[in-house]
């Protein structure tokens, strides 16, 4: 694996009243290998558009997404805002379908880490949202992607459940390091998770500032520390205030 290089020169789309809307212009990002990067920006700034471009779901743009040295498209694991599980397939089948070849050992170990071994033969409709989100995370890790995209995956979870799933995600990521691009508009969540924060402006989207988070991993669940870092960040980078 290697760094991921994102260079989007221009992304426009036509609105309903047939005007040209510039969503992204001149956005350059380099995602270092196995880093956890959080994108923070106001809602409607085009974060989901950006993820869809990286995931090759949206191909109508000028620019390039590539593994830095090879100029080939990275393999993507996408964790959508809604889990997007197939309701007519069991938990385990949902994960198996994403894989090209059967890899029962990997699935077993992922289910175990995410504490879902007991429910692997149940159908998603019988599960809570928190569980469905964890399955979506497993599915993305299972394919061993070059980059994991996460589009506000913890939104609409209650606070304790969100904290639990966040903890499990970090545990999984430490066991199996991957490059992660995590989109959120919740600054506290971003600080708790990321190695690096990237702040984005409203449309047309561009990078406002990049900040390294230097809190040790074992201190990330200390809410005071997170809050202190947040205050410090806002005083050192006043330009961020308008984006939150």
């Amino acid at each position: 694996m290697t760094d991921i290089y994102i260079d989007i020169k221009n992304k426009t789309y036509t609105t309903a009243d047939s005007r040209q809307h510039i969503a992204i212009s001149d956005l350059k990002l380099t995602l270092p290998e196995n880093q956890f990067v959080c994108l923070v920006g106001p809602s409607g700034c085009g974060k989901t558009t950006l993820l869809n471009i990286i995931a090759n779901l949206d191909t109508d743009y000028q620019g390039e997404i590539a593994l830095a040295q090879h100029h080939i498209k990275p393999n993507i694991g996408y964790i959508f805002q809604n889990p997007r599980l197939l309701p007519w397939r069991t938990v385990r089948e949902n994960i198996e379908l994403a894989l090209n070849s059967p890899q029962p050992d990997i699935i077993d170990s992922l289910l175990d880490t995410m504490q879902l071994s007991d429910i692997q033969h149940r159908y998603p409709e019988h599960l809570s949202l928190g569980m469905s989100r964890r399955i979506a995370i497993i599915r993305a890790f299972a394919i061993n992607p070059d980059i994991l995209l996460m589009d506000e995956p913890f939104v609409s979870l209650d606070a304790p459940t969100a904290r639990q799933v966040r903890g499990l995600l970090i545990k999984l990521w430490q066991q199996r390091p991957h490059t992660i691009l995590f989109v959120t508009h919740d600054l506290r969540e971003a600080i708790a998770l990321a190695d690096k924060l990237i702040f984005l402006s409203a449309a047309p989207m561009s990078v406002v500032s990049e900040v390294e988070v230097n809190i040790a991993r074992e201190e990330r669940d200390n809410e005071e520390k997170i809050e202190r870092f947040r205050q410090q960040l806002l005083t050192q980078h006043p330009e961020i205030n308008s984006l939150l």
Binding site: L57, I76, Y78, R84, L86, W88, L97, E125
Partner: protein
């Protein structure tokens, strides 16, 4: 006394038979035989082998025309549902074929191709096909785009996407087309047989009509209803149960 959901249908069925019996006794004429007489004729017809023979032939025609109509209808319906241009082009055709009376297609098929088996099957297929296409097209239009995107992102490929993402979503539409299709095809097949075949239920009913043999007509009708119910409970219900086991 509280009536459960199971006893109610049974009671209503008994009431229907009682009404029939009462009316038959009251009218006391060959044009409305009582249920007992019909049952007797039904038994005699089975013993003589006449009823099973003609019912079997009609069932064969049903299976052949139904399979062809469903297979073609699903394929064309999915294609039209997925492709807007194709849909816009063929939409008129569909409306025209939907509105041609069944009798017209049957007569035309016999006139053009002769009084042969394949003409009979073709006439039934042409009658049923537009219905299947329209139903499956609606189902295809309603496919969940989020799930299709997920399948693309995780490189499902065509076969996996169809089997695991598209087909389960089309299931309710396929079942609706199946049920309405069976009901429609039954009725059309009888007309097809009446007009141009020398065997099958439709041919027999025509014969009984000429003899004014109402008891035999009703006996065949009973057999008819029994077969439809059997298909519903032995084939369609189990398929539904298996396909929808994931539902809450």
């Amino acid at each position: 006394m509280k009536l459960s959901d199971k006893t109610l249908p049974t009671l209503s069925f008994i009431l229907l038979i009682a009404l029939w019996q009462g009316l038959a006794v009251f009218i006391n004429d060959n044009t409305l035989p009582s249920p007992v007489v019909v049952l007797e004729v039904f038994w005699l017809e089975i013993e003589s082998g006449q009823l099973p023979h003609h019912l079997g032939i009609t069932l064969l025609r049903l299976v052949a025309s139904f399979s062809i109509a469903m297979f073609l209808g699903c394929a064309i319906g999915i294609a039209l549902g997925r492709n807007k241009k194709l849909d816009a082009f063929f939409d008129n055709w569909l409306v025209i074929f939907l509105n041609i009376p069944a009798l017209v297609t049957i007569i035309l098929c016999y006139v053009w191709f002769g009084l042969i088996e394949s003409a009979a099957i073709l006439a039934v297929v042409i009658n049923k096909l537009p219905n299947v296409i329209v139903t499956i097209r609606e189902g295809t239009r309603a496919l969940d785009r989020d799930l299709l995107e997920m399948a693309r992102c995780y490189h499902f490929g065509k076969k996996k996407t169809f089997l695991h993402v598209i087909w389960p979503q089309l299931h309710p539409f396929v079942m609706a087309a199946t049920r309405s299709g069976l009901a429609l095809i039954w009725k059309i097949i009888l007309v097809v047989e009446l007009l141009g075949r020398s065997d099958g239920m439709g041919y027999q009913l025509h014969l009984f009509f000429q003899l004014f043999d109402v008891a035999s007509i009703l006996a065949y009708t009973v057999a008819f209803i029994a077969v439809i119910q059997a298909i519903e409970f032995l084939v369609l219900k189990p398929i539904d149960k298996k396909a929808l086991r994931w539902k809450r």
